[in-house]
């Protein structure tokens, strides 16, 4: 099935054209993609576009903008939580968003029916605070220059610079971006599924047998792996390390709110069970002379790890929204890496693969029980 289509237009233009034609021809009823908001395009947010003109030159949509205001996996879950749309919807998402989406499908939080998934090889996104007041626009030329060379711009989020899963899996159509030197004039679409093929039918382009795993991609994996090790090495561990790291946590639980995998409508830590009676506080006070109010910073983080780390896709939203600038994503990725290795699991790899905690082998992990 996998085939690729070389189109003699720039990547951005190709993407816009593709989406516009999908909407115009009625092949999809809407497109979920990034778009500018506000009268002067001050903000960038995901939108469900139904009007094809949004994808024309100067239109509101900016599907390849290096920014992630929300994890689109979570958004698609919200869109399809109560059932798939009756007509196809296309979504332009980043590889980590796609992984989150696959995990959410496994968690019965969304449906992939009638969803056309378009993704691209990803060179990362800028931190949220770089996107305030159009400050990001100035960085765009540098960003795309780096993409062409298969590099990552230095101002891109550390999480992204350390991400080794930047080649999307399970996308119906993949737009090759990373390391494509002639990005401005030519674009390769990799059509990975029959669904994808049906949607690109009629698109003008030369078919080719180009592989996604190009040389620059391989090189990027190595670079990012190195950076990842560097980040992991900087994580403060041990209880004292965690207390130092989370000492400044303000308990807002924003990390949980934006986490695509944390889908529970009511988190244990926001529930009545986590509210304490005066007797609890008095008991703790008696025992150790003092305690934090509200309590549960390290407990919350460990609890969240226990609940979601096997499915953590390393999208970095948690770090991005943290008002206290705690490097959550690095810590969670480090924990997730070993937890996922334990079960030889990679979140988002395959929709049919069970989440490790929902399945088991008869003979395994014998050393755990003593």
């Amino acid at each position: 099935m996998p085939e690729s289509l070389v189109i003699s237009k720039g990547a951005e233009e190709t993407t816009r054209e593709l989406l516009r034609s999908l909407l115009e021809s009625g092949k999809v009823s809407a497109v979920l993609a990034l778009g500018r908001t506000g009268s002067g395009g001050e903000g960038v947010a995901y939108s469900l576009f139904t009007d094809p003109t949004a994808f024309e030159e100067g239109g509101a949509a900016c599907p390849l903008f290096p920014f992630m205001p929300a994890n689109a996996g979570g958004l698609l879950s919200r869109l399809t939580l109560q059932g798939p749309p009756s007509e196809p919807v296309a979504a332009v998402v980043k590889p980590c968003e796609l992984r989150a989406l696959i995990e959410l499908v496994k968690l019965n939080q969304c449906s992939l029916d009638n969803i056309l998934l378009i993704s691209s090889t990803c060179s990362g996104v800028y931190p949220l605070d770089a996107g305030v007041d159009g400050a990001l626009e100035e960085k765009l030329p540098g960003y795309w220059e780096a993409v062409k060379q298969g590099e990552v711009d230095e101002d891109v989020r550390p999480t992204c610079r350390a991400c080794v899963n930047f080649v999307p899996e399970n996308a119906d159509i993949t737009i090759a971006l990373l390391g494509e030197a002639d990005l401005d004039t030519q674009c390769t679409l990799h059509v990975n599924t029959e669904k994808g093929a049906a949607f690109v039918e009629g698109l003008e382009g030369a078919s080719s047998s180009g592989e996604l795993e190009s040389e620059p991609v391989q090189r990027a994996v190595g670079q990012r792996e190195a950076f990842r090790e560097e980040l992991f090495a900087g994580v403060e561990v041990g209880m004292q390390g965690l207390i130092r790291t989370f000492g400044r946590c303000i308990g807002c639980h924003a990390c949980k709110t934006v986490c695509p995998i944390c889908y529970c409508r009511l988190c244990y830590f926001d529930s009545q069970d986590a509210e304490r009676s005066p007797e609890f506080y008095e008991g703790e006070l008696q025992r150790k002379g003092g305690l934090r109010v509200p309590p549960n910073t390290v407990f919350f983080q460990l609890g969240r790890m226990a609940h979601m780390s096997v499915s953590c896709v390393g999208c970095g939203m948690c770090t991005d929204v943290c008002p206290a600038d705690i490097p959550l994503s690095t810590l969670f990725s480090k924990v997730a890496a070993s937890a996922q290795a334990l079960f030889e699991y990679q979140p988002g790899r395959e929709v049919t693969e069970e989440i490790p905690l929902r399945t088991f082998e008869q003979e395994e992990l014998v050393q755990v029980a003593t």
Binding site: T37, S39, A45, S47, L48, P69, G131, L285, G289, A324
Partner: protein, 388 residues
């Protein structure tokens, strides 16, 4: 319940040669040792030294790292008090050292039945404002120096925008207020309720110092701040009023609802805007998108902000916690303080002023607000008929 003391006409004095914070911590330590109260809720520097956290403590030794007036407000004290007392009063008398906006939030939460203040003695200080959280965490040492300098000079420019225009930085509602404004070697401790009076009594401190000088200073500063607030709100209104401006202001909102989560008075366990009420089948979203050509997703950004205001603006204490927690630096605290001031004015209420004022949406008058009733012009349709 706090019975009002006969006008705050006098206070006790405390020598503060070694600085206000040290003197106050010393005083609190003594109070703990004398068992004037059993426990203390106070901001304490965290182990990494990059922020502060509220600790409930009874061991006076822990107080060494305490700061009655830290340079940041990571957790709104009202919220901390609510978490502590939401299930009841407990058996300990707790003194909570908080900022005036935090005390106001605690008072609102008490009225909203989310806090029990019977055994809590609210101690507030004249507040110079706080630095934005992200500024401080980036470089705590520089932040602390900047804060100390600005606080000493009464300069609010490095503080958060909501603090820059705060006009309720003193007194209002607390049981004990520590007057430090313009303090020169001596600070005043002013009882605001019988609970506060009992504390001073227990400490053996005579309440005999005249407040005139300090009151005059506070009043002067309050007037200046009120003017500043009026001006800031007028300027702000220019930039937010109208559909276009408003949507520009919220254009970068990522719908994380963190403003709601850190808001002390947004106490609902399940927010309406995160509930199933707004989680709809895909056809709904697609139809809405179809009508407008596109639909921001997640949807309902503006509905969330205005709706949230409709739920909490009357209890909003303008503490600015929302703005501090916004990952997109939206001036949400300022916009909410503007909405809150005008809404509270319309309904004759000041959030956190006193435990006695009833919440405006719980209470009503028979004869009021006739301006919102649309007068009936009886001849309206008859006129139409004649015109036709």
């Amino acid at each position: 319940m706090s019975e009002k003391s006969a006008a705050r006409s006098s206070g006790a004095t405390l020598k503060a040669e070694g600085g206000v914070a040290a003197a106050l911590v010393g005083w609190l330590k003594e109070a703990l040792e004398k068992k004037v109260f059993d426990a203390l809720l106070i901001p304490v520097e965290v182990p990494a030294g990059d922020s502060f956290a509220y600790l409930l403590l009874q061991d006076p030794a822990i107080l060494d790292k305490a700061s009655p007036l830290p340079p940041v407000m990571p957790v709104q004290g009202g919220k901390a008090i609510s978490r502590l007392t939401m299930r009841g009063n407990g058996s300990k008398r707790v003194a909570a050292v908080v900022r005036p906006c935090e005390a106001r939030a605690a008072i609102e939460l008490s009225k909203l039945k989310q806090a029990h203040l019977d055994d809590v003695c609210l101690i507030t200080l004249d507040c110079p404002g706080v630095l934005p959280l992200s500024d401080y965490i980036g470089d705590p040492a520089a932040g602390a120096a900047r804060f100390a300098e600005a606080a000493a000079e009464g300069d609010r420019s490095p503080m958060r925008p909501t603090c820059q225009m705060c006009n309720h930085f003193s007194l209002l509602g607390s049981d004990l207020h520590v007057g430090t404004l313009g303090a020169d070697g001596t600070i005043l401790i002013v009882p605001g309720s019988s609970k506060g009076e009992r504390v001073l009594e227990g400490m053996g401190m005579p309440v005999d110092a005249a407040l005139d000088d300090w009151s005059a200073r506070v009043e002067e500063a309050e007037q200046a701040q009120t003017e500043r607030r009026r001006q800031a709100h007028a300027d702000l209104r220019e930039t937010v009023a109208g559909a276009e401006n408003l949507l520009d202001v919220f254009s970068s909102c990522i719908n994380c609802h963190n403003c709601q989560r850190v808001c002390p008075v947004c106490y609902c366990r399940q927010c309406y805007f995160e509930s199933a009420a707004l989680k709809l089948p895909p056809e709904n979203y697609l139809a809405r998108a179809g009508r407008k050509g596109a639909l921001r997703f997640s949807p309902d950004t503006l509905l969330f902000h205005i709706g949230r205001a409709s739920h909490m603006a009357l209890s909003c204490v303008s503490c600015g916690a929302c703005e501090d927690a916004c990952p997109m630096d939206i001036p949400v605290g300022q916009v909410f303080s503007l909405m809150a001031d005008r809404a509270q004015e319309a309904l004759g209420y000041v959030a956190g002023r006193s435990l006695e004022d009833a919440l405006p949406l719980v209470d009503y008058e028979m004869d009021e607000l006739h301006q919102v009733e649309q007068p009936y012009v009886e001849i309206y349709c008859k006129q139409e008929v004649q015109d036709a």
